[in-house]
Symmetry: C2
Subunit: 242 residues, 2 copies
Amino acid sequence: MQTPTAAMLVIGDEILSGRTRDSNMHFLARALTDHGIRLAEARVVPDIHDRIKQAVQSLSAAYDHVFTSGGIGPTHDDITADAVADAMGAAIDVRADARAILQAHYDARGQELNAARLRMARIPDGAALIDNPVSAAPGFSLGNVHVMAGVPSIFEAMVASVLPRLTGGPPLLSQSLRVLWPEGEIAEALGRVAAAHPEVSIGSYPFTLNGAQGSNVVVRSQDGAAIDGVMAELSRLFPDPA
Amino acid sequence: MQTPTAAMLVIGDEILSGRTRDSNMHFLARALTDHGIRLAEARVVPDIHDRIKQAVQSLSAAYDHVFTSGGIGPTHDDITADAVADAMGAAIDVRADARAILQAHYDARGQELNAARLRMARIPDGAALIDNPVSAAPGFSLGNVHVMAGVPSIFEAMVASVLPRLTGGPPLLSQSLRVLWPEGEIAEALGRVAAAHPEVSIGSYPFTLNGAQGSNVVVRSQDGAAIDGVMAELSRLFPDPA
């Protein structure tokens, strides 16, 4: 089968201003790779309705799945749910199932489900809720768009809730070879290997260790045997310097 | 003056597969904010010529500046320079000034400027070189696109080389108020303050401390006095619980 593709959309002024360093993209990238879904693009946009809407429409049309993080809390700058509903042409209002989840959560803590918190029960028509075991307020899947919280602990829990629903392909496998030569010394031979083996994807990433330059060569494929074959060839080509 | 806008384009399969966690976006976001340039969007794309080309064209048309990271080394997967040249309609070949920089660098180390390393002297016609004090191989600015290395130490040095050339606006200032109430308790009052003060942008970011929920409220503007006024109002509204 074809490996499904995905995009991630990180939503939040605080990422673009540098106040907060995003960690959700890296978490999702690893989780999708393990699940056999290929993350093909990621974007970060500010808390502006039309920017969110346009990005959702563009990514939703281009990829099998879109995962968003951020902007689904109770404050005025949390506008993701409404922007996604608008992008997908769905109506949105407080929904009974989401409201019941929040009511139970706040009742149990003796807190009030006030108007601000009730905004977190705004769920588009036709969306399926995504469970939030951390703080109750749910995410949702609308069409191929999966809307999740920005707080990393909640985002990660929501990814764990939603991924089992999605059909992945065979996971993308990889092996690395640590070559104790600078990239410039191995590049020509490595390029020939890459050209001869289109069944794998080969990346090279430089490193410096105790002042010496080396290259981490990564071979990726869904076919483990193909990786093994190329790794054997690379190990012969680039033995450790004696 | 209008604050210039910018986009960042992170290029690399290793980011999207989750092998590597990008740190350049966060570094650039902070550096641009300090320099008075507003980072308005960021994207991550894989090492695919047409994906890089399309992203560069789209972002270059939409923003005052585009900053790229990754894909300018000597190996077969380093295709950024050619893709950017293609996107901007510029010819590209080994250029004498870049070649001279590399020749001096490798001569000084007794290393060979071989064909692979010479690829790093491929610079589009009309581009200005960006100094690389770490490992010599230059980046370049072509039109409003600034092409830099992906290795964080080199990326950061190149940002330091290129930013002084670019005219920034007044820097975006911000102040934070740590409110010891959950977002759901302050959201309505905070929303009224935000609506009454369009001259500032107000964001709210939840935190948990010793099991208690709080909110970091961030007020942003280029006008320091406007921030001071709103911060005073917020401090009156949300005093620490006695």
